[in-house]
Structure formats: structure tokens, C-alpha cells
Subunit: 954 residues, 2 copies
């Protein structure tokens, strides 16, 4: 089942196709860049080029007081100095004017190009650059100028920026050691070790008659003193000076050099260039690939924020090949890409061995070799915070599901059972399972089934727990059969259609139940309307003789009966009913048994916890607060919402219905021991008949468990230790048996909480360029965090004195939140929304680019119809067979192949396994002749909001 916030927990990098690690390092060598003239196939496979930090120093103040000032910097994106504000701009995609690139090209062609310059210090470098082509006087003047220390804006974490080198004139020339503020620059920590610098110096200089251009590649990277704001060794140095006529030209040329150097492919070529010709060829290759925006349709000064996905080097290469070669076979690439990307490649874990328990044996064998490392890998501080976060989430889940299960089963399973079961089953699973990152929990589908099972046994007066025990025994047996026959490989037939139908139904049940239970409270605590005459309650004491006066009912005109009393010589008081009864009196009157205000207050609590949890979820992506605070608020949204609800309730002190928790460690249901008796009051044949519901539950458990397992083991999470589908199912079966015997809830893998677990353990590259999202390295795969979480959950059984303060409406609110979050995260809902949108306003989904709108609507309508049918079945007495109907979704999906073309299904859904191979051969003709147009689809869906204009209306 898909649970709330799945999207926010989607921990894979958003750009699936991008080889992030390679782009990160600012180099294309790993993916064989294709510099047109410098392609050196021997270079393939060599270590990547170092990341380059590029700084633009501009000469300002001519003709009065000359000084160098850093006005721009680049790692991947451009940051511009906001002079007035004294801050660095937000990183943005650099835009250039074409003439500046052309001017730069001619300046470089005529200027000085030193490749592999042996200079070892700034002084040597400056001497090398100024020696040629200049008169002695001019050269010395220029040397002095170049050695002058530039001003940097070093932005510390405090608000107040610190201007590096406040007294540029006092600095002596020979002071080449990096300055303190350079070392303190927080940017230094963001750049990976081995990063190099490049300095671009530009400006207008009155005493020059000719433009002066110099491009230097140092043989060994050298720290050039305070030239760059970070004390990195510089590899490239570029000087562009000229008489003042050109105006802004030098600034633009300097930016052009910097942008060129920040391009991985250009950099790759230039690092390997052996002469001027190579350099210019690299520039021309860059020009071949630039994207051009027409001047009348795009403001060149608009800043484009960094896209979430960068074009991969692979794509650049292939587009280049297409441009040059354009072989026919190449054009099929997009469809192929799509295949490999959308369908989980059949992993070794899902290949059938053909032997009984063959998959299980393989899983155990694979996992055993990792077992020691499963504990050693947990020795990292990150695991502490992961434990705290997942512990709170688990406890919240145990409380909410425990509360609901307790109600659903009339106390047969309560909060205590929920805690105990979660702890025992979870810990055991973490120790034994194939995928120990999985968190076991009560899940929606199982809850729904348990409720149905309970109503069934109540309707037929069965002894619930013994009946349930037999169901559990049968389910465990069936699951073992599934393990033995390696049925888990069938999981590949669950396409998105099945998953979404499953998820949507469960979410709807969540929403319906939450709202329904809330409304049932208004029946339990009726609202007192003016006409409903629930006024009045008094406490009547018997007269000394022990008699009570007779109450008579008077029928008022067109109103209900009204109690009226002809009292004898009695005492009466207005004591509240409980105290009245305590003192031997008897509460009389219609309002004695109603508690006012509870219904509306419960509704308020319900709405508050729902809205607060929803709002906190959005805080996570807002601009406010540091990211740590936002993450905490977002991650703990349910916990905080429950706390808020409890606080409000405690503040007003109304008698709202509270969570029922036992005061001592014994089963919630009075009079049962920890072991469920195998027959109880049931006839013997029921133990055999239980196989029928068990079959249904097995289907449910299988689907619920395996859908989650497939999601967790997706390739994009880069798990190294592999999956264990068979072993996981085996564990679930064993635990099923155990919990049935003990009368504890049943457990399967919970999608959301497991994804959250993985998210809290993700390893990311710490050092990253401004504007670049951190890159995802993998997950800390180990068993310890889960184990500790469940041990803590077990200890929390003694939290009962605290838990009894939680009002039920708050829990209903959290369930509504979970249901709404789950249903809004699936593509199906996006398509339902499309039904309400005029075509003009529809978002630019890839789906809509490739499938006609009416076909999309037809697919959505079929899904809606299936959902409606499932809902109807769920509401009839035949409800208990709903797992079978869920399985029926797979069949419906199969018949859809008669209605939709494979191409359409590829976009709307996934393809079923046997179809995969056939696609390129058949049924694609209409699209095929146009398949080129696919190549125009971006890897990313670029859908920015309309530009914001900041105009005051005041």
C-alpha cells in the first residue's frame, strides 16, 4: 500500500537519467566526452577532471583609483556580485551574448596562449604574461597592477558580509600566502578535495593602445596568493585588458571565458589542448552546442534558476552523434531509453531458479555474506537521528492503528497489542529479513480486512480470536507455498494500474473511515438544538420514606413529550449526574445523559490536526527557516499535530473521547491470556473453513508486501546488498503465525515509513557547487537502526499513562491526513484532475505530449469505474472477497491491451513483462515515422511558474 507523503520520501535523485556523480565532478571524461578535434580514446576510463572554481576579477575605477574587484564566480552556475546589496546573487544559468563569444575568439586568436606554463607563483606568472609584446615601462606598470590584491566579497554564514582585503593598497606585492579570510571562506568547505581554481581578469586600462589577451594553463596548479577568494591551486589564468572604448565588452568577454571554463566538455578539451588551434576548436565545439533564444522573445537579462536536472553528458554525446552520423538505428533510442527507465530491469533476485525454495535459499546465501557488515555499517552518527525519527513515526503509527484496530475489533486488539506486536514482529524482521531497511507495521489493507473478518465473525457469532488464529495458520501455510514456488517473481505483473487501484481504494477507505468515525461522534454526543428540548436535568433524592415522586409526560402542542414532575416533599439538587448517583440520588431529565459541546469540539480537533499536519508538510518545501528546522517540522508533522491536538484538548479540559489504553501489561480484552486457545467456542470444522478467508488474506498480504518490496528495492536507490523478496515473504509468514497465536495484529511492510527510514539514511555528497543539488550516493544499509527502533517501541508499552490523554478525533484527523496525502501522490489523481482542466491550462506532462487527450480520459475513466466497482463490492456483504477483486485488477489491465495501443500503455502505465520484447517490432507505426520528435522531450519537465513581477500596488 502506498501511504502518505510517499512523494516527499521519494529519495532517489529526481533526475533518473542523469549520471549525477559524473556531472557533479564537473567533468565529462567518465562518459567519454566528444571534443571534436581532441577526442582521445585512450583517455576514456581515466580519473575524472578536478572540479573548477572560476572567479572573474574586474578592474574598476579607471581613470581615478584602479582596483580589482571580484564581480562574478562560477562552479556550475553563475553567481554575480550584487554591488549595491553587497551579496552574491542566487546561482543561475549563465546567459551570454553571441558577439562576446566571437570577440573573445578573435582576442584569443591574436593574443598570448601559454599552455603548460611552468610558473610557480603569481609573480612568475605575471612576469610570463607581461614579458611578451609589451614595452618595458608598460610591462612594469601592468605587473604592479596585476599584483595588486583584489577585493573579494566573502559571505560568511552571518548576515553581515565580510569584505576580504579591506585595505587593498596596503598589501605588499610579495605577500603571496593566502589570507585568513580566504581560509575561512565557507565556499572552501563546499568544494570537493582536489578542486582547482581559474582566475579571469578583465578591465579597461587607459594606457593600453591595443587590447591585450592572455590565456594560461599552468603545468602544475599553483595557489596564486589572494587572487581568488578560495585558497585553491589555480590551473587556468586569463587576462583580457584593453582601452576603454569597448565599454561593457570586457566584462562580457570575461564572463564568456568563465562560462566556457565551467562547461565540462570545453574544460576537458582545454586541459588536453596542445596548441592555440585546439583551444579555438574547443570554443567552436562549444558554439555548436549552445542553445539560442531569440532576442524578441526572451529578455537576455532574465536570470534562469538552475534546473533540477542537467543535460547528461551522455545525451550531449548522443545528440552530437545524431547530428554527425544520424544513423537510422540511433533514432530508436528514445523509446529504448524509456524502456530501460520505466521498467525495473529483471533483477537477479526476481529470476526463477526452478527449484523448491530455490529463491529463498539464494536470498539467504546472498544475505549471509553481508550479515556482519549489516551491523558494522551502522556506526555513523546519522544513524542516531534516523533512530529517533523512525521511532517517533513507528510509535505514532502504533498508536493510530492500535486505536483503530481496537475499535474495529471491539478490543480484541488494542493499543497495547499494537505496541507489543510491532516491537516483536519488527525486531524479528530486522534481524532475519532480506531487506532489513523495511519497517514492518500495521497497514491499511490488513486493517480493512481485519475489520471485515471481525464483522463476519460477529455476524455469525463466532469466537473471534480462535477463528483468527486458524486464518493466520492458513495464511502462513499459503505464504510458505508461495515462497516454495518462488511466486514472488510474479510481482512484475503488478503494473502501475494495479498499484494505483490498490492505493486509491485503500486511501479512499482511510478518508471515508476518518470522516465517518468523526461524524459518528456527533451521534454519540448529540448537538443540542433549540427545538430538541434536551434542556433540564435535576438530581432527585428519594423522600424519607424511600419513595420517589412520579414523573408525568405532557404532550405539548406539536412538540415532543416533556417530562414534568409533581414532586412530593423531596430534596432535589442540581448535582451533575455522576455525583448525584454517588450520593444516592437519581438524575432525572433529558439532558442528564448528553454532554454538550463535545461534538463541535471534536470536529474542531479533527480539522485542526488534519490542517496542521498538512500545513507542516508544506513547510518542508517553503522558503522559511533553515533547512534543518524545516526538515524537522516536515518529518514530524504527524507527531506535532497530535501534540497540538492533545494540548488544545487538555487546555479546554472537555470530556472528549480518548484513546483507550490498558493500565497494566495484559491483553486489552478482559479475560484472555496471551496465548489464543486453538478452538474456543467455535466448532472444529471452522479451523478448516478458515482456509477460505485465509486465501483472500494471503493474496492481500502478498500484494501489500511485494508492492512495497518492489518500491524499496528500486534501482534508483542504489542499494548494494540486494533485495530478498522470498526471504522477506518467508519472514512475514513466520511472524504471521506468531502474532496469530499471541492474538497480536498482523504485520507487513509499510511503504511510507520504510521509505522514510531509507531517506533518513541516505548518503549524499556534502561538497557541492552553489545552485547544484547534493548528489545521492546510496543508503546506509544495515540492520541496527531498525532493531533499536523496535526495541524502543517495545519499551514504550509503559507509555500508557501518557497515551490515554490522546483524544480520538485527533487520531481521526491524522488518518484523514494520511489518506489524503496517499491519494494525492499517485499519477491517477493527476489524471483525474485533468478531467477538470480545460486543455489550454493543462500542465505540460510528458504523458499529454504523447497520448491523445481523449485516450487519457478513457484510461482514467476505466480506472474510476474499477475503483467504483471495488467500492461497491466493499460495501456489500461480499466485502470480504475484496482482495480477490484487487487481484482482478491485473486481469482488467490485461484486457486493456485490446483497447489501447502498446505505445499508449507505455505512457499511461507500464508494460507487462511479455510485452516488453515485442514493442519495437509491432504496433508503433503511426508514432514511428515521427519517432524523431521524441528526442525533443526533455529529460526534465521544465514547468516553471509564471515569472513573478514585484510591483507594489500601494
Amino acid at each position: 500500500m502506498k501511504l502518505p507523503g510517499q512523494e516527499e520520501f521519494d529519495i532517489s535523485n529526481a533526475c533518473e537519467n542523469v549520471p549525477v556523480g559524473e556531472v557533479d565532478s564537473g567533468s565529462g571524461s567518465g562518459s567519454s566526452p566528444d571534443g571534436p578535434s581532441n577526442t582521445d580514446s585512450r583517455e576514456l576510463g581515466v580519473p575524472k577532471d578536478p572540479l573548477l572554481f572560476i572567479q572573474l576579477n574586474e578592474l574598476l575605477g579607471w581613470p581615478q583609483a584602479l582596483e580589482w574587484r571580484e564581480t562574478g564566480r562560477w562552479v556550475m552556475f553563475e553567481e554575480k556580485l550584487e554591488v549595491g546589496a553587497g551579496r552574491w546573487s542566487a546561482p543561475h544559468v549563465p546567459t551570454l551574448a553571441l558577439p562576446s563569444l566571437h570577440k573573445l575568439r578573435s582576442l584569443l586568436a591574436e593574443g598570448l596562449v601559454l599552455l603548460d606554463c611552468p610558473a610557480q607563483s603569481l609573480l612568475e606568472l605575471v612576469e610570463q604574461v607581461t614579458r611578451v609584446e609589451l614595452s618595458q615601462e608598460l610591462g612594469e606598470q601592468l605587473q604592479a597592477l596585476l599584483l595588486q590584491r583584489p577585493q573579494h566579497l566573502i559571505q560568511t554564514t552571518r548576515t553581515r558580509p565580510c569584505w576580504g582585503s579591506a585595505h587593498p593598497r596596503e598589501a605588499s606585492h610579495d605577500e603571496e600566502a593566502p589570507l585568513k579570510e580566504q581560509h575561512q571562506n565557507p565556499l572552501t568547505q563546499k568544494l570537493p578535495p582536489g578542486a582547482e581554481a581559474a582566475a579571469v581578469l578583465v578591465g579597461e586600462l587607459g594606457f593600453l593602445a591595443q587590447p591585450l589577451g592572455a590565456f594560461v594553463r599552468l603545468r602544475d596548479p599553483v595557489v596564486l596568493g589572494p587572487l581568488t577568494e578560495v585558497p585553491l591551486p589555480s590551473r587556468f589564468f586569463c587576462l583580457l585588458l584593453g582601452p576603454p572604448a569597448l565599454g561593457r565588452g570586457y566584462h562580457e568577454m570575461g564572463r564568456a571565458v568563465a562560462v566556457l571554463l565551467s562547461d565540462p566538455q570545453f574544460q576537458w578539451s582545454v586541459r588536453r589542448a596542445s596548441n592555440l588551434h585546439d583551444l579555438l576548436a574547443a570554443l567552436d565545439a562549444f558554439l555548436e552546442e549552445v542553445t539560442v533564444l531569440p532576442p524578441g522573445r526572451w529578455d537576455p537579462t532574465a536570470r534562469i534558476p538552475p534546473p533540477k536536472c542537467l543535460p547528461s553528458q551522455h545525451k550531449r554525446l548522443s545528440s552530437h552523434l545524431r547530428e554527425v552520423g544520424g544513423s537510422f538505428g540511433r533514432r530508436r533510442a528514445p523509446a529504448e531509453d524509456r524502456h530501460s527507465h520505466r521498467l525495473h530491469a529483471p533483477s537477479p533476485e526476481l529470476q526463477r531458479t526452478g527449484r523448491l525454495f530455490g529463491g529463498l535459499v539464494q536470498d539467504v546465501r546472498r544475505k549471509a555474506s553481508w550479515y556482519p557488515s549489516d551491523f558494522l555499517d551502522a556506526l555513523h552518527p546519522q544513524c542516531f537521528s534516523a533512530v529517533l525519527y523512525i521511532y517517533l513515526a513507528t510509535v505514532t503509527n502504533a498508536i493510530t492503528f492500535g486505536g483503530l484496530l481496537g475499535e474495529a475489533t471491539n478490543g480484541a486488539q488494542g493499543v497495547l497489542e499494537s505496541f507489543l506486536g510491532t516491537a516483536v514482529a519488527g525486531a524479528a524482521f530486522c534481524l532475519m529479513a532480506g531487506q532489513p531497511l523495511t519497517i514492518l507495521s500495521s497497514t491499511g489493507p490488513v486493517l480493512v480486512f481485519e475489520r471485515l473478518l471481525f464483522s463476519f465473525s460477529r455476524d455469525y457469532s463466532l469466537d473471534y480470536l480462535p477463528f483468527r488464529l486458524w486464518v493466520g495458520i492458513w495464511v502462513a501455510t499459503f505464504c510458505l507455498v508461495l515462497v516454495a514456488t518462488e511466486a514472488s517473481v510474479l510481482v512484475r505483473y503488478f503494473t502501475r494500474f494495479t498499484e494505483e487501484g490498490f492505493c486509491a481504494l485503500i486511501s479512499l477507505i482511510f478518508i471515508y473511515d476518518a470522516v465517518g468515525k468523526m461524524l459518528s461522534l456527533t451521534r454519540a454526543y448529540p448537538i443540542q438544538r433549540p427545538g430538541s428540548l434536551t434542556y433540564g436535568c435535576l438530581c432527585q433524592f428519594p423522600d424519607p420514606g424511600g419513595n420517589e415522586s412520579q414523573w408525568t409526560r405532557t404532550k405539548l402542542k406539536d412538540r415532543d413529550d416533556i417530562l414534568s414532575v409533581d414532586l412530593g416533599l423531596v430534596n432535589a439538587s442540581l448535582l451533575p449526574p455522576p455525583e448525584c448517583a454517588q450520593r444516592g440520588g437519581r438524575p432525572r431529565g433529558p439532558s442528564c445523559h448528553t454532554v454538550p459541546d463535545i461534538a463541535f469540539f471534536s470536529l474542531l480537533l479533527f480539522l485542526t490536526s488534519f490542517l496542521f499536519a498538512t500545513a507542516l508538510k508544506y513547510v518542508k518545501t517553503s522558503r522559511f527557516f533553515p533547512s534543518v528546522v524545516r526538515k524537522v517540522l516536515g518529518d514530524f508533522s504527524s507527531v506535532l499535530a497530535i501534540l497540538l491536538g492533545c494540548g488544545l484538548d487538555a487546555f479546554l479540559g472537555l470530556a472528549t473521547p480518548k484513546l483507550m489504553v490498558p493500565r497494566e501489561f495484559k491483553p486489552t480484552l478482559p479475560g484472555r491470556g496471551w496465548l489464543v486457545s486453538p478452538f474456543g467456542a467455535n466448532p472444529w470444522w471452522l479451523s478448516v473453513a478458515a482456509a477460505l478467508p485465509a486465501l483472500l488474506l494471503s493474496i492481500l498480504i502478498f500484494m501489500d508486501q511485494q508492492i512495497t518490496a518492489v518500491i524499496l528495492n528500486r534501482a534508483e536507490y542504489r542499494l548494494r546488498k540486494g533485495a530478498g523478496f522470498h526471504l522477506d515473504l518467508f519472514c512475514v509468514a513466520v511472524l504471521m503465525l506468531l502474532t496469530s497465536v499471541l492474538g497480536l495484529p498482523w504485520y507487513v511492510s509499510a511503504t511510507v515509513i520504510s521509505l522514510a527510514h531509507m531517506d533518513s539514511l541516505r548518503r549524499e555528497s556534502r561538497a557541492c557547487a552553489p545552485g547544484e543539488p547534493p548528489s545521492f550516493l546510496g543508503i546506509r544499509e544495515q540492520r541496527l537502526t531498525g532493531l533499536v527502533v523496535f526495541i524502543l517501541t517495545g519499551i514504550s508499552i509503559f507509555l500508557a499513562p501518557v497515551l490515554k490523554f490522546i483524544p480520538m478525533p485527533v487520531l481521526y484527523g491524522i488518518f484523514l491526513y494520511m489518506g489524503v496525502a496517499a491519494i494525492s501522490s499517485i499519477q491517477f489523481m493527476k489524471r483525474v484532475q485533468l478531467l477538470l482542466m480545460p486543455a489550454k491550462y493543462q500542465p505540460d506532462l510528458l504523458l499529454l505530449r504523447h497520448v491523445p487527450l481523449n485516450r487519457v480520459h478513457l484510461f482514467t475513466a476505466i480506472q474510476l469505474a474499477c475503483l467504483g466497482l471495488l467500492w461497491i463490492i466493499k460495501s456489500t456483504p461480499a466485502a470480504i472477497i475484496f482482495p480477490l477483486m484487487l487481484l482482478g485488477l491485473v486481469g482488467v489491465r490485461k484486457t486493456l491491451e485490446w483497447v489501447f495501443s502498446p505505445q499508449e500503455l507505455l505512457w499511461l502505465d507500464e508494460l507487462m513483462p511479455e510485452k516488453e520484447r515485442n514493442i519495437p517490432e509491432k504496433g508503433l507505426e503511426p508514432e514511428y515515422s515521427f519517432s524523431r520528435s521524441d528526442s525533443e522531450d526533455s529529460e526534465l519537465m521544465y514547468q516553471p511558474k509564471a515569472p513573478e513581477i514585484n510591483i507594489s500596488v500601494n
Copy 2:
């Protein structure tokens, strides 16, 4: 005062700097485009070039079955055919690859260029094109091909697209008349009259040995039959065919031609080109101006949505001049631009004449000439819907303010007075005022002052209405003095600082009052807690002797007193209190006087109406529903929220407090006539003393009236008939006198509702290119809509039987909504939010680019301190002087000139009038040397959301 939704009512075009009309028509001739080689100064001032629709027809199916298919179209932005989906893509900014432009250039240079081709039909044109350079056989083959009818995708408003020319092979060659589906094309209606077409035909053709390029400009535009999807006369025709080797190259070259032709400046040049050289020069000029995105940092296939603001032709020209000439004076341009843009140029209406009532006389004279047209201009269907919308808004306002005023003044002004006063004052103002688009209404500041005045006179036991009459007389006198002395010209000293302080204070009062009144309901209807012992109420009847039993109070342990009764031989019943009293009984017991459930239900109503109104406001900018529906939902959000609240209330039928409306047409306060007696119970000298509060109120009225007037008369609304500041103030003064005499509320101009009025009367260009927002032409300036609105409001006095069903909590909710919407629309709040944002996440506001963050925070802190001081004053007994303190804001703003530099104030606020002239000379040195960097500020703030990635997590 600035009221809610001001932002959404900001009816000027978002791009203030863009000469929209000129960009619209797709031509730059109005603003003297600067084609480098074709600049023809005689052309300046000639009519604009027609808009161009450009269509790309691609030859597909080689080598099997050749057919032409339209695969792209351009007006301003690019629309691409989504082949698989059979729909046009969303309009987007076209992006090109540089090589395709270069290839195009060489193909054109070698190909056929026919300028002023005399062809009169497609056949003639094709003959002309194929005659040259081709063998006869080839030419005939080509002719047949070119005459083949292309396939168009004509998207009708229905979902199902209609493929034009379904049987391309059946069409005969000579059938040159446009087809029915061409005429039915909805795009035709969007293009302005006089628009022309251009056809670009590209493709791979196996029997060609050489690439074939032809560019034709027709002497007279000719309808080329079914060649283009719209039956427009074509001006340009471009053919690019070649052997299949180039692959995707022809498609890209075709796109390049289309993008070039869609560029206004290129088009301007090409329309005037006399030879191939001119054509190539225009292409080179285009290349000079393109924006270049580096390949490694931008995915060339990402589609960029149309920016809200296009670069103006003026800016293109000036940037070109800067590039070429680079004169020093030119660099100052951005600062100058900013001046003219941010400061309302001193309009003739605000120039001092120096004579007594000189301004008033001028206003009357100016307005008199427009008077007849003020009624004739209203004869347009748009005015009907404007009347309906503004009528509903006015009535809502009258109800809400009437309800609040009634409470604030203890019934001295109620809903009836509010309706009557609004109708009388509003209608009179519409007939007489200088700016008849203004809608008069009760406003927040006046409401606050009236409340203070009432508390004052209650505290000192004054007769309120006579006292108020004298205040009104004095205010009218003072206002007349202000009119006589032409004080309205001082309005230019109200900078944004003043306006925001004013608005923020009033909004806070709204919010505080709404919440406070809501909470006061929980005191009026206390919540019944378990411990508070409000149980119990009985109805006791006297015994036959007429005696009543004695109730005794028992003190229970650590509890409140409990009533207990030792009843004699009496009758008692549990009748509700009202009926009990009616039958001669006496309700006894603590719960007799409490109504349960009302407090929480009121809170629910309050929250519901607030949240519903807020949500409806956001519907307006959502993607759902057609724009008409969204507009209605957004515009009527308050009305709908009130209706929802009333519906909920009626459904449950609880005794919530309702709006008090009189049942007959007489003043709400019992025992007063329609005329207020001049003295009442007050001493005579009070009529003189009333001058003091009147002075304060005059300041308030002046500020409230004039701030609104300035906003309404802003240049960006393109009003033709001019403003009338003096005349407006004169009318307000006269109406002040009238309403005081009649004891009706006081009225001034209401900002939001007046802006809504103007918004509903805006004239827009209907025809606009896909992706282009409609352009704003002006406002229907007339007096009739306002007049009708107020007549209808007057008639609505008889709505009282309906209005009495409106619960007060719903009105409080609407007031909360108004307060929140007002305060969140001002820049001040944006800056307060910045305090909570880490610098890294702050939005890219122009402000932050130019002012250091700590200076921004300092400015915000000073505003917060002023606001706090105002709030404190408002809460003390000295509250009545708060208008004076508002005026004090102008003084504070003046002293800020010692703290902030003029440059900083220019960005944070506006400049005061006398500063305007000085700015360029002083205080700008630090920024000045960098003033070039200003030119990098976009006219638009391009701040798209991060790209959306559509990944299913299932």
C-alpha cells in the same frame, strides 16, 4: 486604506515598462527598430507592420508515401505538434541550435531569394520557385508535390481535435479556395485583422541531388489556398528541401526561419529588404542579439514557458546603442527609467494654481467637457456584468460594515443606515465626482475612528449623534478649507512608507477585531466544562399559595457552590426557560441561561467562512475550470463564503447570534427621527469642542480619500478623462455634512472595491497570439455603472427579511479574510517574511539586489517599531489621536533620510518630491561606478518554480 485583494485587482499590465501595443502587433516600427543595415529613418511613424502567422509544413514519409504535415506554428511563441497526442503543445519560447542558423544562412546565400514576387496564387508561386535551377522533370515533380494539400491539426474548442484535409490525396491541384475547416479554425478569430501568414516548407526529398532553398516575399499578400491552416493572405514563403543526408537538419532550419520571421525586428528588416545582402544582414543582426545558454548547464530540449513580460523594443534598441556607441550619459538610463517608473510624474491635476479653489474650478472645467460621454460610454454589454459584480460587492460591504458599525455604536448606525447611506452618498458621488469610477464605502479607518468617538462620548456621557453631527460639520468645513487651499497637491508626500504603515495598522485592527469579537462570543455562550457545574435547569412553578420553595447553596468540597432545593409540594417541569417563563414558572439552575454548542459552532462558522473565502481567492489562479468560472468564483469569494456560512447555520438551525436588521424602514436606534437634532442633551460648547476630534478625523479622511485617489489615477491605468482630486474631496466634504445630519455612516473612497470596479470595466485586445497575455487598452470611464449599482443598493434596503439570517461569526470570518488579504498584499509584509528566511532561500527581489540585507532589515524593523507604537497609542486612552500619529509617519519617513542613502530609499520606498531632482547628482558614488550593473536587471523578475518532475512512486 488598502483593502484585500488589491494585488489581484491590480489591473494594469504586469509589465509596466513594455509598450505592449507595439509588441503585440509583432512589429517594432513604432519604436524605431534598428536593423543595422536597413535603418530607414523615414519609416519612423509609419503604421505598424501586420502581425505574422508562421506555419511550418514538413514533408514526411520519404521514400514511401510523401505528405505534407504542419508540425509547428508561431505567432509570438512556438507551438509544436505533439504527434502522438494529436494536440498542439503549450506555447513556449522557441530555442534554436546555433548550427541550424548558420546552415540556414549558407543555404539562403546560395539559394533563390525572390523579393516582391508578383505571384497571385499558389500555382504561380510554385511555378516561380521551381522554374529556376532545376531540370524540367524535376521541376514538374516538385510542383506536383508543392501543390499537394498539407495536413493541418485544427484544434477546435471541443476535446476531439479535427484533422484538416483528411484525404490529402483526393484534393485536386487547382482547388485553391480556402477550406471550410480553415475558416472554422478558432485561431483565425484570435489573430487581429490585417494579420498575414508565412509558410515554411521543409523536408527530405530523395530525388534531389542538391539542397534547394528559396525565400520569397510576395509583393501583395495572397491567400495560398490550403497551404496554411488559417485562410490569411501569405506574405512570405520559404522552401528548404534537400537529400535525406542532413537528417533532422531541415526541420531545424525550418524552425530557424520561422523563429526569425516571428522576431519583430528581423521581420521589419525583411519587409524592407531590397536584395539578398539585406536579408543576410538582418539575419546577422538577429544573431548579434540572441541569448546564448551553455550546453552543459541547460537542456536544449526543455521548453521555456512564455515570460509575462517581453523585452521591449525600446530596450533592445538602447542596448544596441550602448553596445555600439556606449556614450557615458547613456549609462545613467536605468536609474532614470526607475525614476519615471516609480514616481507618478506630477500630473496636471496635482499642480498648484495658487488661487483659492483654483484646483476645484479646474477640475470642474475639465470634467464638464466629458460629462455627456460619461453616460454614452456606458452603452456596452460589459457594463452589465460590472454592475452585477460591483453591486454584490457593495452590498456585502454594506452588510459587513453595517453589522460592525451597529455593534461599535450600539445601534446608532446599523445595517439599514449603512444601506441607505451607501446608496445616497455613492449615487451622489457618482453623479458629481471628478473620478466617477471611485466607489464610496465605509472604510476601515473611519470605522475605527467612529468606534473611538463612540467610546469617548459614552465614557463622558455625551449624546452621541448630536456630538457626531458637529464633528461632521467641522470636518466638512476643514475639508472645504483643504479644497480651497489646494492641499491635495501635498498627496505626493505620502510615500509607500506612509501608505504601508496606514494599511498595516488598519489591517491589524481588522484581524484583531475579527478574532476578538469571535472570542467574545465564547464568553457570551460559555463552553460547558465537566468541572464547571453548569448542569441542570428546571422550571419551577409556585405552589398553590403562591410561595416558592427556598433554594439553598451547598458548598461541596473544593468545588463551587451548588444549588440545591428543598422543594415543597410544588410542580416542576423541565420546560426550556422561555416557555417556562411564559407559563408562569421560573427557571432555576445554573444551566438555564447558557446555550450549549453555540461557541464552538460559531468558531466553526468563522473558520469555514474565512478558509472558504481564502480558498476561492486561490481558485482564480488555479488551472481548474474554464477562466470564466474561475473568475466568478474568485470575484464572488466573499459572497459565496457568506452564503456557505448561512447555509451551514440554517442546516443545523442553532441559535447563533444573527445580524440585527430592522424590520421596518426607520432608524435602527429606537426613538430617533431621520434628522439629528443639533444639540440634544449636550451642552452648547460641545459644538465648538467638536472641532478638535473633527481635526483628527479630517486628517484621516484626507489621507484615506487621497491615497485611494492616487492609486486609482495611476498612469498605468491609462485613464483618458483625467483625475479630480479637489472635486473628489469637495464631494466627500459635502456628503460628510449630509450623512452627519441624517445620522448615517461617513463615506470615503474604498480602494479595493474601486479597483475591482475598474477591473470589471477594463478594455483588452481580444485577438492575441497563443501564449501572449491579452493587452490592456484602457478603462470604460463612465458614471452609469456606479450610479446603477447604488440605486440597486438603495432598493436592497428591503432585503432585511433575508439579511436577518446571516450569522455574525460568518461576517467576522469575512473581516478576518479582508484583513489578512490586505496585510499580505503589501511589500512591508514581504520584507517581514525576509526576516524569517535564511539569505540562501530568499527570493530574487530587485530590492535585495541593490540594498544590503541588514539595511533592508533595519528599514523593516523601523516600520515594525512605528507600527508597534501606533498600536500602543491605539490601545491607550489617547487612542483618538491616532490619525495624528498616522500623519507622523510622514515625519518619520523624512528623518529616515538621515539614516538611509537616497539610493537605498529609492529601492525601499519612494523619494519625496524635492529629492527627485537631486538624486543623480549626489550620494550615488558608490553605486555609480557600478551603474552598468543595473542594466543587467531584467524588466521582469524571472522566478520560476523548480522544474516539476513527474515520477510515480508506486
